[in-house]
Amino acid sequence: MDEKEVIVIAAIAIPVTLVIIVIVLFSVFSRRKNRLLQEQERAKKAFDRELAESQIEIREETLRNISWELHDNIGQLMTLAKIQSQMAQERPELLSEVSETIGTGIDELRALSKLINPEALKSLSLREAVSLEIERFNRLKFIAANLKVEGTEIPIEGNIQIIIFRILQEFFSNTIKHSRASTLDVVLNYSETFLNISAGDNGVGFDKSDKFMGIGLKNMETRAQLINSTLKIDSEKDKGTTLHLQYFYI
């Protein structure tokens, strides 16, 4: 092959190759971009779905709590007031006790009314929402619960806060219903880059191979992943269960 043939071949091959490269380059980049956009869209839909489910579950849990409070707390106070008022018919000096019991009932009713007001719930921070749950557990004597806040509180975006709260609420609910624990310790540790939450009970624990528990855990893990968090639940038979959730602000 002489130099003229080489030059002619190069003169044709170079522009053709460059055109092919440009087409391939831009089609690869646009396909990848479209795929990423689709993935983002799917992730957003999954997030919205989980958010909606979390909101519904929080509402259901709240209704269940109201039912418990009405039955176990306010209902009991009213029953006591009724008995005291019947006794007061014979012993009028007991009327002050009736008044005191009814007063406690009214206070409990006010607290409950404040707690279930949607506007009040929306304006709560994660710490305040968790704190109200802990206070409720202690008031109803479900469990000896304790909340500890470390570091300076950093506000968390509303939708993310709902999902974190729902994860914790599900854990608390499992603790009260199944763990037979006497204590529940919750720690919210705010650092500059992430929020570390740990919640541990001293209950009977569970075996991770338990299929029913596995589904619940999977659900919590999926929600944690959607908000860029890591969730770990450690449990051992008769040694309690601890939840570790780490949420990165960005």
């Binding site: 030059i7 002619v8 190069a10 003169a11 170079i14 440009v22 980049f29 990848r32 971009k33």
Partner: protein, 216 residues
């Protein structure tokens, strides 16, 4: 044909100057990133080309040594940019190895080539090939990240497309010019392609500077 060469040569010097000025104007948008060395590269190119032409046409002397020195800084600075921008450690290591290899070959050229009268062809081809390799690594890293969504506004993307197209086209021309060169009109076709490649490359640079958005 000579008129065409002259106009293409003037066009590319003018483009060097325009792109350099725009790179300085847009400098605040990328001064905090590794791309801050781009105006230096563009200025070096403009300065070397102007000085090279001046020495050649005014004093009728060989300007090869100027280019031999210039290409070392040119390739090294581009390797630095890609090494800094790419985040994957494995790719950074490959670029460091590429840079070391290039330095060795470049050093070898000083010993084995008549640096006053002959261009450092081997180290140039090595530098250009390693640069193409760096660009491929950069593309892989973009495709693996979400940066692909905003690539249109990424200065380095457009710069790398310009460089990629230029070197894919120019490496064969350089090889043919070095080992098959004969003074006849056929080579002029390749020179037209070479000048066109330079113009295309600088048009991509220009697009990058005009479309870019701030990058930290």
């Amino acid at each position: 044909m000579n008129a065409l060469f002259e106009s293409l040569q003037n066009a590319h010097i003018a483009l060097y100057a325009i792109v350099f000025v725009i790179s300085v104007v847009k400098f605040p948008l990328y001064k905090n990133s590794a791309l801050k060395v781009l105006p230096i590269i563009l200025f070096l190119t403009l300065f070397t080309e102007s000085l090279g032409m001046y020495i050649k046409f005014v004093y009728a002397l060989s300007n090869t040594i100027i280019y031999n020195i210039y290409y070392f800084f040119y390739f090294s600075l581009f390797f630095y940019v890609f090494k800094e921008v790419i985040e994957e450690k494995r790719f950074k290591k490959y670029i460091k190895i590429g840079l070391a290899l290039y330095c060795l070959i470049y050093l070898g050229d000083w010993f084995y080539t008549d640096f006053m009268n002959r261009g450092f062809v081997i180290s140039y081809i090595a530098g250009a090939t390693i640069l193409v390799f760096c660009i491929i690594l950069y593309y892989i890293s973009i495709l693996q990240s979400s940066l692909v969504l905003v690539v249109k506004n990424d200065l380095l993307f457009w710069v790398s497309v310009g460089l990629f197209l230029f070197y894919i086209g120019y490496i064969p021309i350089k090889i043919i010019r070095t080992w098959f060169y004969k003074q006849d009109s056929f080579f002029e076709i390749l020179l037209v392609i070479q000048f066109s490649l330079i113009i295309i490359m600088y048009l991509f640079f220009l697009t990058g500077f005009l479309w870019m958005k701030k990058r930290s």
